[in-house]
Symmetry: C2
Subunit: 341 residues, 2 copies
């Protein structure tokens, strides 16, 4: 019941352990007679290789770890799907863990007692942890970082060009004729690097358009959740001069903002145009549908996984920042907004 081993099969078939192994692995030629006998025994005993033992011997586990802040955030769920698929194509399976954006938990995950030794490689999504700590803790396991982190070329890294993406998002709003364009999602602390890059892009777009930046229109949020998007939007609506467009740093914030707008009876996009980032499925069916900057998640996952796998196999080029493609998807929350107002 406890699972037959090679030894059991060998005894049953009257051959050596090694021969059974040869049959199982199809690596070395085995005579037809023995092969037949061994295969019969394998079937009768329902032999399945003990992968833990095999991994110990081979020094590989065939597992990658993918660490995200929150799995119930659609962007990460959708990305995880792609990562799992990409990993499977390379013959790997994926262990998923969450940090809840907590630096402490991140340390724990990478720490001494961690299960890091069970994985051939590590895929990490936005971290609070610092570069030095990361280097300290992962010096044995290949790592690929996903999403922005201003690390200096010591790690492989896949992300979209956040500055450019944010600039394009804002320019899209400008192109609609909007002039009071707000931004929701800045994070002016050390862990908010992605957010800061998007703020830079936002400012660039306004400056290029000859618009002045009204600091009161930049609203910070500690997280990127729907509720905070709604709160931020309510705050903006309460300003003496509310915005006529909002660039949200992710789609969830945008969904929250649209919720607050609907609640306040403000029309989208006529009164306020809304754009997000992430290209999550939810935005395809929201009311109105959400204009967004959609990173190519499939591409991101593929690049990240194949870089990681190359790294594991020692065939990787030196660490570099891979820029992933993205796309502006114009939908209801900004469409047809030219004529309006």
């Amino acid at each position: 019941m406890a699972g037959a081993t090679l030894r059991d099969v060998a005894r049953r078939a009257g051959v050596s352990i090694r021969t059974v192994s040869n049959v199982v692995n199809e690596s070395v030629p085995v005579s037809d007679e023995l092969r037949t006998r061994v295969e019969a025994a394998l079937k009768e005993l329902e032999y399945r290789p003990n992968l833990v033992a095999r991994n110990l011997r081979r020094g590989r586990t065939g597992m990658l770890a993918f660490v995200v802040p929150e799995l119930d955030v659609p962007y990460f769920a959708e990305l995880a799907r792609e990562v799992i698929t990409a990993a499977r194509e390379h013959g790997y399976v994926v262990m998923l863990d969450q940090t809840d954006g907590d630096a402490e938990r991140e340390r724990e995950l990478l720490g001494r007692e961690s299960r890091a030794t069970m994985f051939d490689g590590l895929l990490l999504s936005p971290l609070s942890i610092s570069e030095d700590e990361l280097r300290d803790r992962t010096n044995r396991v290949p790592v690929v970082l996903l999403g922005e982190h201003i690390f200096n070329g010591d790690f492989h890294h896949v992300a979209i060009d956040n500055v450019a993406a944010a600039r394009e998002a804002t320019e899209h709003l400008v192109s609609l004729g909007r002039r009071r364009i707000a931004a929701i999602g800045d994070q002016p602390y050390s862990t908010g690097e992605t957010a800061q890059l998007r703020t830079i892009g936002y400012r660039q777009a306004l400056e290029r358009a000859g618009l002045s930046v009204d600091e009161s229109l930049i609203v910070s949020t500690p997280h990127f959740h729907r509720r905070l998007g709604a709160e931020a939007m309510r705050h903006l609506l309460a300003l003496p001069e509310p915005p006529d467009a909002v660039f949200c740093y992710n789609d969830l914030l945008a969904i929250g903002a649209m919720y607050a707008l609907a609640d306040a009876g403000v029309r989208v996009p006529e009164d306020v145009a809304v754009i997000g980032v992430d290209g999550i499925q939810e935005g395809e069916y929201s009311s109105p549908t959400l204009t967004t900057i959609a990173p190519d998640k499939t591409q991101i996952a593929r690049t990240a996984v194949s870089t990681l796998v190359a790294s594991i196999e020692g065939t990787a080029p030196p660490p570099a920042d891979a820029k992933a493609p993205y796309q502006l998807l114009v939908r209801g929350s900004t469409r047809g907004a030219h004529e309006a107002r």
Copy 2:
């Protein structure tokens, strides 16, 4: 660089391997002097236990596998989050895999060459695979099934009472005074057991309310995605006598249905009331917000994981169907719909 082993540390500290092991595991008393020396060596060499080796020796991996049809379906993502959290509380990590609802892939996952031996236990969500196959393939690994499957008590199983839940959902619509209540999501094939149970509950509610069941108001969908919900709704709207309420078998279908309704200029809930099942976060911010039957995901995950862990440790009671709690959350898609019309 390749990772120090107990032997390396032992050599460095001038003690036996076994003593180092004792220090690391804190199981056996070690004199202060040696402990100090060993700890120094551990630190200098940055020793981390090789978990693969440890697992081999101990016969446990500390890993659970959680297999879902699609991770980018919010219900599963939210459930996965809870499962990961619950597993962590028991000292386990979680490997996630997807089947895409494909029976072939399910077999593959459980098949001979699978990594099943790398996990102490298996958590499976709705499957296409049959009971017999499942029994054949998992006779060594403890399994807990999540979601409905009409299996006969051979497996642990956690789910809500789908018949009752569907009945309550439908009764809610009845209580609003609706009389032409449609159902979206039936799946009249062998793999659609959850759907069939919900259809039963739907019929029960109508019958109890003295309403006749109009078969043309029951629309089947091969999957539970937003797009199919929209398509089904369009179909219903095109009927000679369209419905005045819709019970969708999950929230994504409901979101899709509301999309189609908005598109057609039909008011929700005034003209058509909508209810879903799953209680996903998306429904809290949709427009209108979505009334739903929300299974207690935390509870489901906790129950499933602790049953699985008990099973692994051999302390589990015989397999049983655990019924998880759920809750009717009344929101905008049905609220204030009494007065209307």
